[in-house]
């Protein structure tokens, strides 16, 4: 039974990475400046690389002889278990950076804790990904500070992005029976302490950026059960197009 829970758990992580990586990839050739275009697609490639390792592990746990490509490209929308935050459209540069910042501020303490997991493959993936994630968080934090404490317009855009995305952030700490089962046997960390660490990071960066945490506590979830926002179908249509049009193609 634990094997099945672990499969779901790894799939959730893999989908978070894949879908956010796909979103960031949409910036390729459209970045506000060449240097940032490359920075965003670098982060995208890191995330897609992480998803490959996670899908490989998930496929092994599933034991049905599937590959990482099968899991990435050939599932239906309700079989993707990513949080709603990562599938939200890129919007303007502020929206993309704030979405990434919220995610990185979660992933860094999450991977730090996951490094101690007794599941060796998972701990190894966490350790490798942590180095990448530390850089992502540094980069997005620098941008949040510069936009918040920049011009009137950059401040307004950053605050608007926060006000819009805040409702999706609490789902990062969503826990259900799958988490409970794995936490009971100390296979994976509790997300409670990670939420505290996340909030500390957000508060510290926002203080420097002169940005505000919204008072509005409206919250969304559903992604972990495969209930997605209306944006997800369009994203998957683009992500899956080649494998659907030319099954089993490779390049």
């Amino acid at each position: 039974m634990e094997q099945k829970a672990l499969f779901e758990y790894v799939l959730r992580m893999a989908d978070d990475s894949l879908i956010l990586g796909q979103r960031l990839g949409e910036w390729c050739g459209h970045g506000p400046i060449l240097e940032e275009d490359i920075a965003l697609t670098n982060i995208s490639l890191d995330l897609i690389g992480q998803s490959i390792s996670l899908f490989d592990l998930a496929a092994a746990l599933q034991g049905e002889g599937k590959t990482h490509d099968d899991l990435a490209f050939l599932r239906f929308e309700n079989q993707y278990k990513n949080v709603l935050l990562v599938e939200q459209p890129n919007g303007d540069f502020a929206m993309t950076i704030l979405r990434q910042f919220f995610f990185d501020a979660f992933r860094k303490p999450f991977y730090e804790a996951l490094c101690k997991s007794p599941i060796t493959q998972l701990a190894a993936i966490a350790e490798k990904s942590l180095k990448e994630t530390r850089y992502h968080l540094k980069h997005t934090s620098e941008w949040v500070i510069r936009m918040g404490d920049g011009t009137e317009e950059s401040h307004a855009r950053a605050q608007a992005a926060i006000d819009h995305l805040w409702r999706y952030t609490h789902e990062l700490f969503y826990e259900d029976a799958i988490d409970a089962e794995l936490q009971a046997s100390a296979q994976v960390p509790s997300l409670k302490a990670i939420e505290t660490s996340w909030l500390e990071t957000v508060k510290a960066v926002f203080a420097e950026a002169t940005l505000e945490i919204p008072a509005n506590n409206w919250k969304f979830d559903g992604g972990r059960q495969g209930r997605h926002s209306e944006h997800m179908g369009y994203l998957l249509a683009e992500l899956q197009y080649m494998q659907r049009a030319y099954p089993n193609m490779q390049w």
Partner: protein, 95 residues
């Protein structure tokens, strides 16, 4: 891509411990911190380095192309400055 007003920075990368930083190119960034991050993203994607320097291009002072002759030609005729006039002792190999 917008035509940015961010300043231009020159990027120097050291590929290995013990070697010198070498000029690899330039980029635009609003300040030194982001210039280092941009340099990391633009110039070290294929494991090119372990240390980066950035210098604002405006702070680099260069010789004038019109003064090439007076700057550099005088040394062309002074071949005795090259260490090629020494007899290498027989016992020395690999010189």
């Amino acid at each position: 891509m917008s035509n940015s007003t961010w300043p231009l920075w020159e990027v120097f990368i050291r590929s290995k411990q013990g070697l010198n930083h070498k000029h690899v190119g330039s980029l635009r960034a609003p300040d030194a911190t982001l210039a280092l991050e941009n340099a990391r993203d633009v110039y070290t994607r294929r494991s090119e380095g372990i240390s980066i320097w950035v210098v604002e291009s405006a702070n680099i002072h260069a010789t004038d192309i019109d003064e090439v002759d007076s700057f550099f030609e005088p040394s062309d005729t002074k071949i005795y400055r090259h260490p090629t006039f020494y007899e290498v002792p027989d016992g020395v190999k690999h010189m």
